[in-house]
Symmetry: C2
DNA sequence: CCAACATCTGCACAACTGATCATGTGTAGA
DNA sequence: TCTACACATGATCAGTTGTGCAGATGTTGG
């Protein structure tokens, strides 16, 4: 069992990636750096939402920003996050999705054992 | 850019792991299967909270349950989740944590350029 | 200086989340 | 059957989250 602080940190990273908007943003950044409006378009978000999301991601240092004039180019900050995304993504692509977020009724196959 | 459904699925998996309680539960399960009350103790949760959390985890098939009498033994369902946990955990342990979830004031060093 | 542009920020609100309390379901033992 | 036990579930309520709107900041060009 890892240190408690690490667990908390880990939970926060997962939390960042659990937002559909933020996740889309991060995924888009796998291809290289992008400016805010391109990011917004790629993620299907408004520029406002994008900027808000980027603020969070920035605060947690999972993205890095490069300024050039009035543009802001964002990129994945860590190889960490990238591999995390890649590993996770590889898995969901090989996994039968569970779009029913609830169990049918019983998971007891024995229900009809007779 | 992966399929939209995969992204949504991915976000949900991350969401599962973003709860401190659920994450503790999952982490505890890395060592092997445990019953609900042991799990509750390991994660520092009430049994009710544990059961609720387990319900969610079960619904997403990230844990598997084995019944024996009135006991329920839980274990990680997929090698997927295990490696995801391991990868992520390895990273946070090698990463300088960012416990200040907000930026100081400005990230613009030029602010005082004269 | 002034206008246009790209991005950032604060506020208010609806939607979601997680924990607790009380209760229900199923099993073990007398 | 009845009690004790281990776990599951539903309702509820407070705290958190994400989004749009409006306004602010800093940059480019004339």
């Amino acid at each position: 069992m890892p240190a408690d602080a690490d667990v908390a940190d880990l939970a926060e990273v997962f939390g960042l990636l659990s937002g559909l908007g933020r996740l889309h943003l991060m995924l888009a950044l796998r291809g290289g750096e992008l400016c805010v409006s391109d990011l917004a378009e790629a993620a299907g978000l408004s520029e406002s939402a994008t900027s808000h999301a980027l603020r969070i991601l920035r605060a947690h240092r999972v993205v890095a920003v490069r300024r050039s004039g009035r543009m802001a180019y964002y990129a994945l900050a860590d190889a960490h996050v990238r591999s995390l995304l890649d590993v996770a993504l590889a898995h969901v692509e090989h996994t039968e999705p569970v779009h029913s977020h609830d169990e049918p009724a019983h998971s007891r196959e024995e229900a009809a054992h007779g």
